[in-house]
């Protein structure tokens, strides 16, 4: 991996198309999409279920390559990177928050946050993890396993895990989708507060209008194409 270039655009997408292969004709999900997201901004992606939000996020994160067009993440053309190169890019510079938290059941809250930091060989991994968990108000739940935490607490651990590594880009896919209104509100506050504090680029996919309203810019995904939100 070459050092990360400082670039004004965190994500740059040109003419990207993508479809799921089937035994018959492929199902087209995304059609010739163009997109630019500035570094340090927050970008919301609205769309109904099945619109292709998750697919677009997966492409932006380099989990899958588009069948046409190009994607540049933090200045890297994802198509030119190897599988390991893309994995390294994610590990060093990208954070994720999922709808169903995806915490590792066999690890404690602290270990869940420490583990990705240790994978990056950060020397102060434990201190960072403690700070991150304290920042989300879970300093008293460090040694609890996910099964002993509520849904809201689990999502806060996931947030701590995502932000502890100071990612340059944070992908959040329906981060409040599995939470009640109270917890959803709290997570939303935390998400935007931490994002502002760290100056990372937030890419948020959701069908919740209220959540998207907090973003600096917003786009709607509809019938495989992007259009500006009203």
């Amino acid at each position: 991996m070459t050092p990360m270039p400082a670039c004004p655009l965190a994500i740059e997408v040109q003419k990207v198309s993508y479809g799921y292969p089937t035994s018959g004709a492929p199902i087209e999900i995304l059609r010739e999409i163009d997109l630019s997201i500035e570094s340090g901004s927050s970008w919301g992606l609205l769309g109904v279920s099945g619109a292709g939000k998750t697919t677009l996020l997966a492409l932006l994160a380099g989990l899958e390559l588009p069948q046409a067009g190009s994607i540049r993440l933090l200045g890297h053309d994802l198509a030119t990177l190897t599988d390991d190169g893309r994995a390294d890019l994610r590990l060093q510079s990208v954070g994720f928050v999922f709808q169903t938290f995806h915490l590792l059941a066999s690890l404690t809250a602290l270990e869940n946050v420490v583990f990705p930091l240790r994978l990056r060989r950060l020397p102060d991994a434990v201190d960072r993890a403690r700070s991150a968990l304290t920042a989300v108000g879970l300093e008293h739940r460090l040694h609890h396993r996910p099964s002993a935490l509520s849904g809201g607490e689990q999502q806060r651990v996931a947030l701590a895990r995502a932000f502890a590594g100071s990612p340059r880009v944070l992908f959040a896919d329906e981060p409040t989708g599995n939470l009640d209104a109270g917890n959803a509100e709290r997570i939303t506050e935390l998400l935007f507060a931490l994002n502002a504090e760290q100056g990372s680029t937030l890419v948020l996919a959701t069908h919740d209008h209220r959540l998207v309203e907090r973003c600096k810019s917003c786009t709607v995904l509809e019938a495989g194409s992007l259009r500006a939100a009203a």
């Binding site: 697919t55 997966a58 989990l63 390991d84 994610r90 999922f98 690890l107």
Partner: protein, 829 residues
């Protein structure tokens, strides 16, 4: 029904579990049945009558004449060890000279050739003929019809036998039995005054006549000094022997049952997880629980039927393999008739019960869970309380074990409890070890931390698996490596100068001639030692009554003859550990006892022991205890007395010598020159011992391998039941940016560690067990077989690696690539 419909890919572990349970149960059951049959037959054959009188000198003629009557069947049998010669070959045998009425019960199964059919005869050999075992025939390189020399006479081998009434002994491995007609005994000139013989009077007939014979033997005057043994007593001893043989089998049975049942339970749960969406859909469509249960039951019964059939076949094959390996241990030469059907039926019933019992909790769980919940992709272990499943598993196991016992399967509560205790103990140790490691998981490298955390995800189950694997590896390694190392240690115990031949039964008149003959062949014997056959009759002047002695060892010596020697000086290599050894000019009657012998027979310094030799009594005072170096292989005795205590008493001489291989032929022919002398080739005995040990180890290893497969299956299933959870984790790792190679390394490390830890612990324990047995019990230097000890962890690691990857294979390779799985993670399956 097509195979693919009967067993879906995820159901194969259940089929393997079924096959394994049935195979393990049936092979162990059949083997146990065979052992029992063999021991019972051996007892019947050994006893050879309803009542047996035993003496260590010939029965007086007036007594024999007095017991004869028309309704009582009786015969004599004289037994003693000697050497037979055929051409250049000689072999130690147990000679059995039988009387004219032999056998009083049972028949002798005779064959005219090795491959010929057996004929049952109710008589012994005619004069001039001898019958031998196939083993002796091979050892002598003779064939049926060959002539052999026994003492001063020659005989023709006319038939082969494996078992004959009253003819069998514990020595049969080294001194195979031989039968000749009692009238030929005189011709051999091997029995003289004070020869070490056993004289048996075997009797059968109506109970009152037997009771009268027993009374007569007890009251005969002068005292007959006879041992009276009934068939009933022997039967109880046989049952004891069977019980001892069953100890090991029971531990294996119980261990295998436990492991296999757990494997079945796990695979049933795994199967239930696969079935949940299907059952949920059927319930959602409105299918009632009753028909659903019937559908599940029918399907399962078919699966269980296939598993039972294949398992029973495999079990029978395993049994045949073990039986072939254990032929050497079976005195009937593998001929004991034994029908496998009852054992097979019992195993199949119990294995079927176990299988159905293991399936019931998963059915209940499926049926009591709402369809909505069944649709959710959660691990089944999260839905039902652990205590409920554990309770059911325990109940099912107890019921199955109960049925097993009721149907006559081997096992006792004590040994089951022992097996459970060993398994629980090793599981606890493994659990504590994993828990300890877990505390420090993330204090080192992240990769190792994750591996340790991942290993702990089902810590109790994993610990049980690790404990079982460790135990099996330990026993297998011990049998394969340490056992043979012990034998090597035993062989190496003898230096290049240690005597390897014993010459016994030397008449005092033969001593100088023999010494000259040996010197002519450059053979230097150890000093000749006199051997007196003595009976201990009184302690401190008080006559011994064996029936009142409670100490079993003391009673044994009161009932049996002892070998006593006389020495003016302390034998070379011996060390006095208590008291003082006599001066060589001592004219007192003193005795020196080996310390171990004194301990078990309850003797103390200062006690007066009275012995009888050839009707003459003498008393000696115990003045010292000795420590003997038996590994010097020079003549030595538990009891040494001052020479003047045994002046003019009948005896033979004994010596030992070191002979090069070139002298073997001459020594083998020595009994021709000195017919009273018996030669014992220690090298030959050690070789035979090694052969028997190796075969026994191999047979037991095959049996243990069944348990090993059960433990490995359990390891596979521990991974398989967490497969989906692991798959989700792997997807997450890929999303977070962990390289594929790194994930593979974690998996390999995790599965490998399980095998490596088990292997190292098991191998280490085997080494310690071997060292303990060698040094503390056998007083040998332990030479570990490093090849086996090192190979054991490597092989175990290999097995767990392959099984772990196999268990993960569906998750790893079902999807086209990990990308697809990563994508699915986003889509929230």
């Amino acid at each position: 029904m097509r195979w693919g419909r009967l067993f879906r890919p995820g159901e194969i572990p259940f089929l393997v579990g079924m096959i394994l349970v049935t195979a393990a149960l049936s092979s162990v059951t059949l083997l146990e049945g065979r052992f029992q049959q063999t021991l019972i037959r051996r007892t019947e054959a050994t006893f050879g009558g309803a009542l047996r009188l035993e003496r260590s000198e010939p029965f007086p003629a007036p007594f024999l004449k007095s017991v004869r009557g028309p309704l009582l069947k009786e015969t004599r049998l004289v037994r003693f060890p000697t050497v037979v010669v055929h051409g250049k070959e000689s072999h130690l045998v147990e000679l059995n000279a039988v009387g004219s009425n032999y056998p009083v019960v049972g028949t002798v199964a005779l064959r005219r050739s090795r491959s010929g059919g057996a004929v049952d005869l109710r008589r012994g050999p005619v004069p001039g003929h001898v019958w031998v075992t196939p083993e002796l025939l091979d050892a002598l390189k003779a064939k049926v019809g060959s002539r052999i020399t026994i003492g001063y006479a020659t005989f023709r081998i006319t038939a082969l036998f494996n078992l004959a009434p009253a003819i069998s002994s514990g020595l049969s491995l080294f001194a195979p039995p031989l039968i000749l007609n009692g009238v030929d005994l005189g011709r051999t000139r091997l029995t003289g005054t004070e020869s070490r013989i056993e004289d048996f009077l075997l009797a059968a007939g109506p109970a009152p006549l037997l009771a009268r014979l027993e009374r007569k033997a007890r009251t005969w005057h002068p005292a007959l000094d006879v041992r009276i043994v009934t068939a009933q007593e022997t039967r109880s001893r046989t049952e004891g022997a069977i019980g001892r043989a069953e100890r090991f089998l029971n531990l294996t049975i119980t261990g295998t049952l436990l492991l296999a049942f757990l494997a079945l339970l796990l695979s049933a749960w795994d199967q239930a997880r696969l079935e949940r969406p299907e059952v949920a859909l059927l319930r959602a469509w409105g299918l009632r629980r009753g028909p659903l249960l019937r559908y599940l039951t029918r399907r399962r019964l078919r699966q269980v039927g296939v598993g039972l059939s294949l398992g029973a076949g495999l079990g029978f094959g395993l049994y045949r393999l073990i039986a072939a390996l254990t032929t050497v241990l079976d005195p009937s030469g593998g001929l004991a008739p034994h029908s496998p059907w009852p054992g097979l039926a019992r195993s199949v019933v119990v294995a079927g019960l176990l299988a159905l019992a293991s399936l019931v909790p998963s059915w209940l769980w499926i049926l009591e869970t709402s369809p909505l919940e069944n649709f959710r992709p959660v691990s089944p272990t999260h839905s039902t309380p652990v205590w409920r499943r554990a309770l059911w598993a325990g109940f099912a196991l107890i019921v199955s074990y109960g049925v097993w016992t009721i149907l006559g399967g081997g096992g006792s509560l004590r040994y089951t409890a022992s097996a459970l205790a060993v398994l629980v103990g090793t599981t606890l140790i493994a659990f504590l070890m994993f828990s300890g490691l877990r505390r420090f998981a993330f204090q080192g490298p992240a990769d190792l931390g994750w591996v340790i955390a991942s290993l702990n995800r089902r810590s109790v189950l994993l610990s049980f698996t690790l404990g079982s694997l460790t135990l099996v590896v330990c026993l297998l390694t011990f049998l394969l490596g340490a056992r043979t190392s012990l034998f090597s240690g035993y062989q190496e115990m003898f230096s290049a100068k240690t005597p390897n031949w014993f010459l016994i039964g030397i008449e005092p008149g033969e001593q100088s001639g023999l010494a000259t003959a040996l010197a002519r062949h450059h053979l230097r014997p150890a000093p000749f030692a006199p051997l007196y056959i003595a009976r201990w009759i009184a302690l401190n002047g008080k006559k011994l009554d064996p029936s009142r002695i409670t100490n079993p060892r003391e009673r044994f010596w009161a009932l049996h003859d002892q070998s006593v020697s006389a020495a003016p000086v302390l034998p070379v290599g011996d060390r006095i550990v208590a008291g003082h050894f006599w001066r060589n000019d001592s004219n007192r009657h003193e005795a020196s006892l080996v310390r171990g012998f004194a301990r078990v027979s309850g003797s103390a310094l200062g006690e007066r022991l009275t012995y009888r030799i050839a009707g003459r009594e003498f008393t000696v005072r115990v003045t010292n205890f000795r420590h003997v170096r038996w590994d010097r292989m020079t003549p030595n005795f538990f009891v040494e007395v001052t020479p003047n205590a045994v002046v003019d008493l009948p005896h033979t001489e004994i010596t030992s010598l070191r002979a090069p291989p070139a002298a073997r032929g001459w020594l083998a022919r020595l009994p021709r020159l000195f017919p009273g002398v018996s030669t014992i080739d220690l090298d030959q005995i050690i070789r035979e011992l090694g052969r028997v040990l190796t075969q026994a180890s191999e047979a037991v290893s095959v049996l243990l391998a069944t348990t090993g497969v059960a433990a490995l299956l359990l390891a596979y299933l521990v991974v398989a039941v967490t497969r989906e959870e692991r798959a989700r984790e792997l997807t997450l790792f890929r999303t977070l940016g962990v390289r594929r190679r790194r994930i593979r390394t974690w998996l390999l490390l995790e599965f490998g560690l399980l095998g490596l830890i088990s292997g190292i612990l098991g191998s280490g324990a085997a080494g310690l067990l071997g060292a303990y047995e060698a040094q503390s019990l056998l007083h040998l230097r332990f030479h570990p077989d490093w090849q086996v000890l090192v190979l054991a962890p490597v092989v175990t690691t290999g097995f767990t690696l392959v099984l772990g990857l196999l268990a993960m294979a569906p998750a790893l390779w079902r999807a086209r690539s990990l990308y697809w799985r990563a994508l699915r993670a986003f889509q929230e399956l």
